[in-house]
Protein backbone atom coordinates (compact mmCIF):
# COMPACT_ATOMS: atom_id res chain seq x y z
CA UNK A 1 0.00 0.00 0.00
CA UNK A 2 1.56 3.35 -1.05
CA UNK A 3 1.12 6.69 0.79
CA UNK A 4 -1.40 8.00 -1.79
CA UNK A 5 -3.60 4.94 -1.29
CA UNK A 6 -3.31 5.43 2.47
CA UNK A 7 -4.53 9.01 2.14
CA UNK A 8 -7.46 7.95 -0.02
CA UNK A 9 -8.46 5.41 2.62
CA UNK A 10 -8.17 8.09 5.28
CA UNK A 11 -10.49 10.35 3.25
CA UNK A 12 -13.04 7.55 2.75
CA UNK A 13 -12.84 6.59 6.41
CA UNK A 14 -13.17 10.23 7.54
CA UNK A 15 -16.23 10.73 5.31
CA UNK A 16 -17.89 7.57 6.62
CA UNK A 17 -16.92 8.44 10.20
CA UNK A 18 -18.34 11.95 9.97
CA UNK A 19 -21.53 10.64 8.34
CA UNK A 20 -21.79 8.04 11.10
CA UNK A 21 -21.31 10.64 13.83
CA UNK A 22 -23.99 12.89 12.30
CA UNK A 23 -26.42 9.98 11.96
CA UNK A 24 -25.77 8.85 15.54
CA UNK A 25 -26.26 12.43 16.75
CA UNK A 26 -29.62 12.85 14.99
CA UNK A 27 -30.87 9.39 16.06
CA UNK A 28 -29.78 10.07 19.67
CA UNK A 29 -31.63 13.39 19.61
CA UNK A 30 -34.81 11.64 18.47
CA UNK A 31 -34.45 9.04 21.25
CA UNK A 32 -33.74 11.69 23.90
CA UNK A 33 -36.73 13.66 22.59
CA UNK A 34 -38.96 10.58 22.96
CA UNK A 35 -37.73 9.99 26.54
CA UNK A 36 -38.24 13.62 27.52
CA UNK A 37 -41.65 13.62 25.86
CA UNK A 38 -42.71 10.68 28.06
CA UNK A 39 -41.28 12.39 31.17
CA UNK A 40 -43.02 15.64 30.23
CA UNK A 41 -46.35 13.85 29.77
CA UNK A 42 -45.94 12.14 33.15
CA UNK A 43 -45.18 15.50 34.72
CA UNK A 44 -48.24 17.08 33.09
CA UNK A 45 -50.44 14.17 34.26
CA UNK A 46 -49.05 14.58 37.78
CA UNK A 47 -49.76 18.32 37.76
CA UNK A 48 -53.27 17.63 36.46
CA UNK A 49 -53.95 15.01 39.13
CA UNK A 50 -52.55 17.32 41.84
CA UNK A 51 -54.81 20.09 40.56
CA UNK A 52 -57.84 17.78 40.69
CA UNK A 53 -56.84 16.61 44.18
CA UNK A 54 -56.49 20.20 45.38
CA UNK A 55 -59.91 21.07 43.97
CA UNK A 56 -61.46 18.04 45.65
CA UNK A 57 -59.88 19.01 48.98
CA UNK A 58 -61.12 22.55 48.55
CA UNK A 59 -64.65 21.38 47.79
CA UNK A 60 -64.56 19.18 50.92
CA UNK A 61 -63.26 22.03 53.04
CA UNK A 62 -65.92 24.42 51.74
CA UNK A 63 -68.61 21.83 52.46
CA UNK A 64 -67.18 21.23 55.94
CA UNK A 65 -67.16 24.96 56.60
CA UNK A 66 -70.72 25.22 55.28
CA UNK A 67 -71.88 22.37 57.53
CA UNK A 68 -70.28 24.04 60.55
CA UNK A 69 -72.02 27.28 59.61
CA UNK A 70 -75.36 25.49 59.12
CA UNK A 71 -74.98 23.70 62.46
CA UNK A 72 -74.32 27.02 64.16
CA UNK A 73 -77.24 28.65 62.37
CA UNK A 74 -79.57 25.77 63.31
CA UNK A 75 -78.56 26.06 66.94
CA UNK A 76 -78.23 29.82 67.35
CA UNK A 77 -80.77 31.15 64.88
CA UNK A 78 -83.39 28.66 63.68
CA UNK A 79 -83.47 26.80 67.01
CA UNK A 80 -84.08 30.10 68.80
CA UNK A 81 -86.76 31.12 66.30
CA UNK A 82 -88.57 27.80 66.65
CA UNK A 83 -88.42 27.98 70.47
CA UNK A 84 -89.83 31.49 70.34
CA UNK A 85 -92.56 30.38 67.94
CA UNK A 86 -93.44 27.50 70.28
CA UNK A 87 -93.74 29.91 73.20
CA UNK A 88 -95.97 32.24 71.17
CA UNK A 89 -98.21 29.39 69.97
CA UNK A 90 -98.62 28.30 73.60
CA UNK A 91 -100.01 31.72 74.54
CA UNK A 92 -103.72 32.34 74.79
CA UNK A 93 -103.43 35.80 73.30
CA UNK A 94 -104.35 36.09 69.60
CA UNK A 95 -101.65 38.65 68.79
CA UNK A 96 -98.97 36.36 70.28
CA UNK A 97 -100.13 33.48 68.07
CA UNK A 98 -99.98 35.82 65.02
CA UNK A 99 -96.47 36.78 66.08
CA UNK A 100 -95.67 33.05 66.36
CA UNK A 101 -96.83 32.54 62.77
CA UNK A 102 -94.54 35.35 61.59
CA UNK A 103 -91.60 33.86 63.49
CA UNK A 104 -92.36 30.45 61.95
CA UNK A 105 -92.39 32.00 58.45
CA UNK A 106 -89.06 33.61 59.23
CA UNK A 107 -87.69 30.22 60.38
CA UNK A 108 -88.94 28.62 57.14
CA UNK A 109 -87.15 31.34 55.13
CA UNK A 110 -83.95 30.73 57.07
CA UNK A 111 -84.18 26.95 56.50
CA UNK A 112 -84.68 27.54 52.75
CA UNK A 113 -81.65 29.81 52.68
CA UNK A 114 -79.53 27.24 54.51
CA UNK A 115 -80.66 24.34 52.32
CA UNK A 116 -79.34 26.17 49.24
CA UNK A 117 -75.87 26.13 50.76
CA UNK A 118 -75.77 22.35 51.25
CA UNK A 119 -74.47 21.69 47.72
CA UNK A 120 -71.87 23.70 45.85
CA UNK A 121 -74.22 25.06 43.18
CA UNK A 122 -74.16 28.43 44.90
CA UNK A 123 -70.51 28.77 43.82
CA UNK A 124 -71.64 29.12 40.23
CA UNK A 125 -74.42 31.60 40.90
CA UNK A 126 -72.50 33.81 43.31
CA UNK A 127 -69.81 36.22 42.13
CA UNK A 128 -66.56 36.62 44.11
CA UNK A 129 -67.62 40.17 45.01
CA UNK A 130 -70.94 38.88 46.40
CA UNK A 131 -69.17 36.09 48.29
CA UNK A 132 -66.72 38.52 49.92
CA UNK A 133 -69.55 40.92 50.79
CA UNK A 134 -71.49 38.01 52.35
CA UNK A 135 -68.47 36.87 54.40
CA UNK A 136 -67.72 40.40 55.60
CA UNK A 137 -71.39 40.90 56.53
CA UNK A 138 -71.27 37.76 58.65
CA UNK A 139 -68.13 38.98 60.41
CA UNK A 140 -69.71 42.41 60.94
CA UNK A 141 -72.92 40.80 62.28
CA UNK A 142 -71.01 38.84 64.89
CA UNK A 143 -69.77 42.18 66.20
CA UNK A 144 -66.26 40.76 66.30
CA UNK A 145 -64.77 43.59 64.27
CA UNK A 146 -65.55 46.15 61.63
CA UNK A 147 -65.46 44.74 58.08
CA UNK A 148 -65.55 46.66 54.81
CA UNK A 149 -65.29 45.99 51.09
CA UNK A 150 -64.13 48.32 48.35
CA UNK A 151 -64.40 47.01 44.78
CA UNK A 152 -63.19 48.81 41.65
CA UNK A 153 -64.40 45.96 39.47
CA UNK A 154 -66.77 43.01 39.49
CA UNK A 155 -65.05 39.62 39.24
CA UNK A 156 -67.36 37.86 36.83
CA UNK A 157 -66.96 34.96 34.41
CA UNK A 158 -64.34 33.12 36.43
CA UNK A 159 -64.08 29.37 35.78
CA UNK A 160 -65.57 27.20 38.54
CA UNK A 161 -62.19 25.79 39.65
CA UNK A 162 -60.71 29.30 39.92
CA UNK A 163 -63.75 30.42 41.90
CA UNK A 164 -63.54 27.46 44.28
CA UNK A 165 -59.87 28.11 45.00
CA UNK A 166 -60.43 31.85 45.46
CA UNK A 167 -63.42 31.28 47.77
CA UNK A 168 -61.43 28.87 49.91
CA UNK A 169 -58.32 31.08 50.05
CA UNK A 170 -60.39 34.17 50.92
CA UNK A 171 -62.38 32.21 53.52
CA UNK A 172 -59.19 30.84 55.08
CA UNK A 173 -57.50 34.26 55.06
CA UNK A 174 -60.50 35.84 56.82
CA UNK A 175 -60.71 32.94 59.29
CA UNK A 176 -57.01 33.34 60.10
CA UNK A 177 -57.47 37.05 60.68
CA UNK A 178 -60.37 36.43 63.08
CA UNK A 179 -58.77 33.48 64.88
CA UNK A 180 -55.22 34.74 65.30
CA UNK A 181 -55.02 38.50 64.71
CA UNK A 182 -57.87 39.93 66.87
CA UNK A 183 -58.25 42.92 64.56
CA UNK A 184 -60.46 45.95 65.04
CA UNK A 185 -60.93 46.24 61.32
CA UNK A 186 -60.76 43.98 58.26
CA UNK A 187 -60.74 45.67 54.87
CA UNK A 188 -60.95 43.89 51.53
CA UNK A 189 -60.35 45.67 48.25
CA UNK A 190 -60.68 44.38 44.69
CA UNK A 191 -58.69 46.34 42.15
CA UNK A 192 -57.00 46.22 38.79
CA UNK A 193 -53.35 47.01 38.20
CA UNK A 194 -52.57 47.11 34.49
CA UNK A 195 -53.84 43.86 33.05
CA UNK A 196 -53.83 41.94 36.35
CA UNK A 197 -56.62 41.80 38.93
CA UNK A 198 -55.96 41.68 42.65
CA UNK A 199 -57.77 41.07 45.92
CA UNK A 200 -56.22 42.70 48.97
CA UNK A 201 -57.21 41.43 52.43
CA UNK A 202 -55.93 43.76 55.12
CA UNK A 203 -56.35 43.67 58.89
CA UNK A 204 -55.00 45.88 61.68
CA UNK A 205 -54.52 42.98 64.07
CA UNK A 206 -51.50 41.60 65.94
CA UNK A 207 -49.53 40.61 62.89
CA UNK A 208 -46.90 37.89 63.00
CA UNK A 209 -43.36 37.00 62.07
CA UNK A 210 -43.64 35.53 58.56
CA UNK A 211 -40.32 33.71 58.91
CA UNK A 212 -41.69 31.38 61.62
CA UNK A 213 -42.52 27.89 60.30
CA UNK A 214 -45.60 27.33 62.44
CA UNK A 215 -47.28 30.32 60.82
CA UNK A 216 -45.76 29.66 57.43
CA UNK A 217 -47.13 26.18 56.70
CA UNK A 218 -50.77 27.31 56.42
CA UNK A 219 -49.73 30.22 54.28
CA UNK A 220 -47.61 27.89 52.14
CA UNK A 221 -50.75 25.84 51.52
CA UNK A 222 -52.71 28.93 50.44
CA UNK A 223 -49.85 30.04 48.18
CA UNK A 224 -49.70 26.59 46.56
CA UNK A 225 -53.45 26.63 45.98
CA UNK A 226 -53.28 29.99 44.25
CA UNK A 227 -50.44 28.68 42.11
CA UNK A 228 -52.50 25.66 40.99
CA UNK A 229 -54.84 28.05 39.17
CA UNK A 230 -51.97 30.19 37.87
CA UNK A 231 -52.43 32.95 40.42
CA UNK A 232 -50.15 34.39 43.09
CA UNK A 233 -50.33 34.75 46.86
CA UNK A 234 -48.34 37.44 48.59
CA UNK A 235 -48.19 37.97 52.34
CA UNK A 236 -46.86 40.91 54.32
CA UNK A 237 -47.10 41.07 58.06
CA UNK A 238 -45.43 43.13 60.76
CA UNK A 239 -45.86 42.32 64.45
CA UNK A 240 -48.23 44.90 65.95
CA UNK A 241 -49.08 46.44 62.60
CA UNK A 242 -51.40 43.89 61.01
CA UNK A 243 -51.32 41.65 57.97
CA UNK A 244 -51.79 42.23 54.26
CA UNK A 245 -52.58 39.41 51.84
CA UNK A 246 -52.58 40.12 48.11
CA UNK A 247 -54.13 37.58 45.79
CA UNK A 248 -53.26 38.04 42.14
CA UNK A 249 -55.78 36.43 39.85
CA UNK A 250 -54.64 34.40 36.85
CA UNK A 251 -54.86 36.26 33.53
Amino acid sequence: MNPTEDQIYVIIFATLFLGGIMSTFVISMVFIHRQRQVQNRQKMDQIKSEHEKTLLNIENEIQQETLTYIGRELHDNIGQLLSLAKLNFGSLKENKREEGKEILSQAIQEVRGLSKQLNLDWVETLSINEFIAQQLERIQNTGFCEASLEADLELLDLPKDHKLVLIRVIQESLNNAIKHASPDKIHVSIYENGSSKHILIKDDGKGFDTSQDSQGSGMFNLRKRMETIGGQFELNSVIGKGTEITLTLPN
Partner: protein, 252 residues
Protein backbone atom coordinates in the same frame (compact mmCIF):
# COMPACT_ATOMS: atom_id res chain seq x y z
CA UNK B 1 -29.06 26.55 -29.66
CA UNK B 2 -25.36 26.26 -29.01
CA UNK B 3 -24.46 22.66 -28.18
CA UNK B 4 -22.01 23.87 -25.53
CA UNK B 5 -24.77 25.73 -23.75
CA UNK B 6 -26.90 22.60 -23.79
CA UNK B 7 -23.94 20.60 -22.56
CA UNK B 8 -23.31 23.08 -19.74
CA UNK B 9 -26.88 22.80 -18.48
CA UNK B 10 -27.36 19.14 -19.38
CA UNK B 11 -26.29 17.82 -16.00
CA UNK B 12 -28.50 15.87 -13.59
CA UNK B 13 -27.80 18.34 -10.81
CA UNK B 14 -28.65 21.48 -12.84
CA UNK B 15 -31.81 19.93 -14.33
CA UNK B 16 -33.03 18.59 -10.95
CA UNK B 17 -32.33 21.88 -9.12
CA UNK B 18 -34.21 23.87 -11.77
CA UNK B 19 -37.15 21.48 -11.55
CA UNK B 20 -37.18 21.89 -7.77
CA UNK B 21 -37.22 25.69 -7.96
CA UNK B 22 -40.15 25.48 -10.39
CA UNK B 23 -42.07 23.18 -8.04
CA UNK B 24 -41.18 25.51 -5.17
CA UNK B 25 -42.42 28.52 -7.14
CA UNK B 26 -45.75 26.80 -7.94
CA UNK B 27 -46.33 25.92 -4.26
CA UNK B 28 -45.26 29.40 -3.18
CA UNK B 29 -47.77 31.00 -5.58
CA UNK B 30 -50.48 28.64 -4.30
CA UNK B 31 -49.82 29.58 -0.65
CA UNK B 32 -52.46 31.80 1.00
CA UNK B 33 -51.43 35.44 1.37
CA UNK B 34 -50.94 35.13 5.14
CA UNK B 35 -48.40 32.34 4.59
CA UNK B 36 -46.72 34.07 1.66
CA UNK B 37 -45.83 36.95 3.98
CA UNK B 38 -44.72 34.55 6.72
CA UNK B 39 -40.91 34.42 6.98
CA UNK B 40 -41.08 30.65 7.52
CA UNK B 41 -42.22 30.26 3.91
CA UNK B 42 -40.74 33.13 1.94
CA UNK B 43 -37.25 32.83 3.40
CA UNK B 44 -36.78 29.15 2.35
CA UNK B 45 -38.08 30.19 -1.09
CA UNK B 46 -35.47 32.97 -1.28
CA UNK B 47 -32.70 30.47 -0.41
CA UNK B 48 -34.04 27.98 -2.94
CA UNK B 49 -34.22 30.58 -5.71
CA UNK B 50 -30.83 32.05 -4.77
CA UNK B 51 -29.09 28.64 -4.74
CA UNK B 52 -30.52 27.58 -8.09
CA UNK B 53 -29.65 30.99 -9.57
CA UNK B 54 -25.98 30.79 -8.68
CA UNK B 55 -25.79 27.14 -9.71
CA UNK B 56 -27.20 28.17 -13.10
CA UNK B 57 -24.75 31.03 -13.28
CA UNK B 58 -22.01 28.53 -12.43
CA UNK B 59 -23.15 26.31 -15.28
CA UNK B 60 -23.24 29.36 -17.56
CA UNK B 61 -19.64 30.32 -16.67
CA UNK B 62 -18.58 26.86 -17.86
CA UNK B 63 -20.23 27.59 -21.20
CA UNK B 64 -19.07 31.19 -21.60
CA UNK B 65 -15.35 30.98 -21.06
CA UNK B 66 -14.76 34.59 -22.15
CA UNK B 67 -17.10 35.89 -19.45
CA UNK B 68 -15.41 33.74 -16.81
CA UNK B 69 -11.98 34.85 -17.99
CA UNK B 70 -12.92 38.54 -17.93
CA UNK B 71 -14.31 38.31 -14.37
CA UNK B 72 -11.17 36.46 -13.25
CA UNK B 73 -9.03 39.12 -14.90
CA UNK B 74 -11.05 41.88 -13.22
CA UNK B 75 -10.39 40.21 -9.85
CA UNK B 76 -6.68 39.93 -10.67
CA UNK B 77 -6.63 36.23 -11.54
CA UNK B 78 -4.76 35.75 -14.79
CA UNK B 79 -3.12 32.49 -13.71
CA UNK B 80 -6.29 30.37 -13.56
CA UNK B 81 -8.82 31.78 -16.04
CA UNK B 82 -10.87 28.55 -16.03
CA UNK B 83 -11.72 28.87 -12.33
CA UNK B 84 -15.18 30.01 -11.32
CA UNK B 85 -14.41 29.83 -7.60
CA UNK B 86 -15.12 33.59 -7.25
CA UNK B 87 -18.78 32.84 -7.91
CA UNK B 88 -19.07 30.02 -5.34
CA UNK B 89 -16.97 31.91 -2.80
CA UNK B 90 -19.33 34.87 -2.82
CA UNK B 91 -22.63 33.06 -3.25
CA UNK B 92 -22.33 29.66 -1.56
CA UNK B 93 -19.67 30.29 1.06
CA UNK B 94 -20.51 33.83 2.10
CA UNK B 95 -24.05 34.91 1.23
CA UNK B 96 -25.23 31.26 1.39
CA UNK B 97 -23.71 30.75 4.84
CA UNK B 98 -25.42 33.92 6.10
CA UNK B 99 -28.74 32.85 4.56
CA UNK B 100 -28.54 29.41 6.14
CA UNK B 101 -27.66 30.95 9.51
CA UNK B 102 -30.73 33.17 9.12
CA UNK B 103 -32.83 30.12 8.27
CA UNK B 104 -31.60 28.25 11.38
CA UNK B 105 -32.16 31.37 13.51
CA UNK B 106 -35.80 31.37 12.47
CA UNK B 107 -36.47 28.00 14.14
CA UNK B 108 -34.70 28.71 17.42
CA UNK B 109 -36.08 29.81 20.79
CA UNK B 110 -35.77 33.59 21.39
CA UNK B 111 -33.03 33.00 23.99
CA UNK B 112 -30.91 31.12 21.41
CA UNK B 113 -31.54 33.49 18.51
CA UNK B 114 -29.07 36.04 19.84
CA UNK B 115 -26.20 33.51 19.56
CA UNK B 116 -26.89 33.17 15.84
CA UNK B 117 -27.19 36.95 15.46
CA UNK B 118 -23.76 37.40 17.02
CA UNK B 119 -22.35 34.60 14.87
CA UNK B 120 -23.66 36.35 11.74
CA UNK B 121 -21.99 39.62 12.77
CA UNK B 122 -18.75 37.80 13.62
CA UNK B 123 -18.81 35.94 10.31
CA UNK B 124 -19.33 39.15 8.37
CA UNK B 125 -16.51 40.86 10.27
CA UNK B 126 -14.06 37.97 9.68
CA UNK B 127 -14.97 37.77 5.97
CA UNK B 128 -14.38 41.52 5.55
CA UNK B 129 -11.10 41.32 7.46
CA UNK B 130 -9.79 38.36 5.43
CA UNK B 131 -10.75 40.00 2.17
CA UNK B 132 -9.47 43.46 2.95
CA UNK B 133 -6.15 42.11 4.20
CA UNK B 134 -5.88 39.85 1.17
CA UNK B 135 -5.43 36.75 3.32
CA UNK B 136 -8.07 34.90 1.33
CA UNK B 137 -8.39 35.86 -2.29
CA UNK B 138 -11.77 36.00 -3.93
CA UNK B 139 -10.80 33.79 -6.89
CA UNK B 140 -9.01 31.02 -4.96
CA UNK B 141 -10.08 28.52 -2.33
CA UNK B 142 -11.16 30.21 0.91
CA UNK B 143 -10.72 27.48 3.52
CA UNK B 144 -10.95 29.75 6.57
CA UNK B 145 -14.19 31.43 5.45
CA UNK B 146 -15.70 28.09 4.44
CA UNK B 147 -14.68 26.38 7.71
CA UNK B 148 -15.98 29.29 9.78
CA UNK B 149 -19.32 29.39 7.97
CA UNK B 150 -19.76 25.61 8.07
CA UNK B 151 -18.86 25.46 11.77
CA UNK B 152 -21.31 28.22 12.63
CA UNK B 153 -24.03 26.44 10.69
CA UNK B 154 -23.24 23.18 12.51
CA UNK B 155 -23.38 24.99 15.87
CA UNK B 156 -26.73 26.52 14.85
CA UNK B 157 -28.08 23.05 13.98
CA UNK B 158 -26.81 21.81 17.35
CA UNK B 159 -28.72 24.63 19.08
CA UNK B 160 -31.87 23.60 17.21
CA UNK B 161 -31.48 19.98 18.35
CA UNK B 162 -30.90 21.13 21.94
CA UNK B 163 -34.12 23.15 21.56
CA UNK B 164 -36.18 20.15 20.49
CA UNK B 165 -35.16 18.17 23.57
CA UNK B 166 -35.50 21.03 26.06
CA UNK B 167 -38.30 23.34 24.89
CA UNK B 168 -41.80 22.38 25.99
CA UNK B 169 -43.34 23.41 22.65
CA UNK B 170 -41.16 20.88 20.83
CA UNK B 171 -41.62 18.16 23.47
CA UNK B 172 -45.32 18.10 22.63
CA UNK B 173 -44.72 17.32 18.95
CA UNK B 174 -43.26 14.46 16.93
CA UNK B 175 -39.91 15.65 15.48
CA UNK B 176 -40.09 13.19 12.59
CA UNK B 177 -43.19 15.04 11.41
CA UNK B 178 -41.62 18.47 11.66
CA UNK B 179 -40.23 20.02 8.48
CA UNK B 180 -37.73 22.04 10.56
CA UNK B 181 -36.25 18.78 11.92
CA UNK B 182 -35.59 17.42 8.41
CA UNK B 183 -34.31 20.79 7.26
CA UNK B 184 -31.76 20.94 10.10
CA UNK B 185 -30.76 17.29 9.61
CA UNK B 186 -30.05 17.82 5.90
CA UNK B 187 -28.28 21.14 6.48
CA UNK B 188 -26.09 19.43 9.07
CA UNK B 189 -25.24 16.50 6.79
CA UNK B 190 -24.61 18.74 3.78
CA UNK B 191 -22.27 21.08 5.59
CA UNK B 192 -20.35 18.39 7.46
CA UNK B 193 -19.84 16.26 4.34
CA UNK B 194 -19.02 19.21 2.12
CA UNK B 195 -16.35 19.97 4.70
CA UNK B 196 -14.42 16.86 3.67
CA UNK B 197 -15.31 17.36 0.05
CA UNK B 198 -13.95 20.91 0.10
CA UNK B 199 -10.73 19.95 1.87
CA UNK B 200 -9.93 16.91 -0.27
CA UNK B 201 -11.48 17.64 -3.66
CA UNK B 202 -8.48 19.27 -5.35
CA UNK B 203 -6.13 16.62 -4.00
CA UNK B 204 -8.40 13.78 -5.10
CA UNK B 205 -8.78 15.19 -8.61
CA UNK B 206 -5.02 14.89 -8.94
CA UNK B 207 -4.50 11.44 -7.41
CA UNK B 208 -7.86 9.69 -7.91
CA UNK B 209 -10.25 11.56 -10.21
CA UNK B 210 -12.89 8.81 -9.97
CA UNK B 211 -13.10 9.18 -6.20
CA UNK B 212 -12.93 12.98 -6.56
CA UNK B 213 -15.88 12.92 -8.95
CA UNK B 214 -17.74 10.56 -6.60
CA UNK B 215 -17.16 12.88 -3.63
CA UNK B 216 -18.31 15.87 -5.67
CA UNK B 217 -21.43 13.94 -6.63
CA UNK B 218 -22.11 13.25 -2.93
CA UNK B 219 -21.86 17.00 -2.31
CA UNK B 220 -24.19 17.74 -5.24
CA UNK B 221 -26.63 15.08 -4.06
CA UNK B 222 -26.70 16.54 -0.54
CA UNK B 223 -27.24 20.07 -1.93
CA UNK B 224 -30.10 18.68 -4.02
CA UNK B 225 -31.59 17.01 -0.95
CA UNK B 226 -31.34 20.34 0.85
CA UNK B 227 -33.15 22.09 -1.98
CA UNK B 228 -35.75 19.31 -1.88
CA UNK B 229 -36.41 19.90 1.82
CA UNK B 230 -36.60 23.66 1.20
CA UNK B 231 -39.24 22.94 -1.49
CA UNK B 232 -41.05 20.68 0.99
CA UNK B 233 -40.96 23.49 3.55
CA UNK B 234 -42.83 25.73 1.11
CA UNK B 235 -45.21 22.87 0.23
CA UNK B 236 -45.71 21.72 3.86
CA UNK B 237 -49.08 23.52 4.38
CA UNK B 238 -50.43 21.35 1.54
CA UNK B 239 -49.21 18.17 3.24
CA UNK B 240 -50.93 18.26 6.65
CA UNK B 241 -50.84 14.47 7.08
CA UNK B 242 -47.09 14.23 6.50
CA UNK B 243 -46.09 17.33 8.46
CA UNK B 244 -47.29 18.71 11.79
CA UNK B 245 -47.72 22.41 12.39
CA UNK B 246 -44.44 23.85 13.61
CA UNK B 247 -44.36 24.75 17.32
CA UNK B 248 -44.28 28.47 17.92
CA UNK B 249 -42.36 30.41 20.54
CA UNK B 250 -44.46 33.50 19.95
CA UNK B 251 -46.87 32.84 22.85
CA UNK B 252 -43.95 32.83 25.30
Amino acid sequence: MDSRLLEAFNHWFTISSNLLVMVGLIFFIKLPKSQKTNIKFWFPFIILAFTVSYENLGAYTNYNFEFKKSVNAFLGNIEYPRFNLWLYNVTERQIGALLFLGLIRMWLAPSQKRYITWMMYAFLAVVLFLKLTGMELMYLHQPIIFALGANMILIGCGLYFIGIITQEQYLESNPLKLISFWLMTFIMFTFSLSYISSVTLLYLYFVNPVLGKFLQNIGNFMTLMNLGVLTLTIASPFLPIQFEKEPSYESN
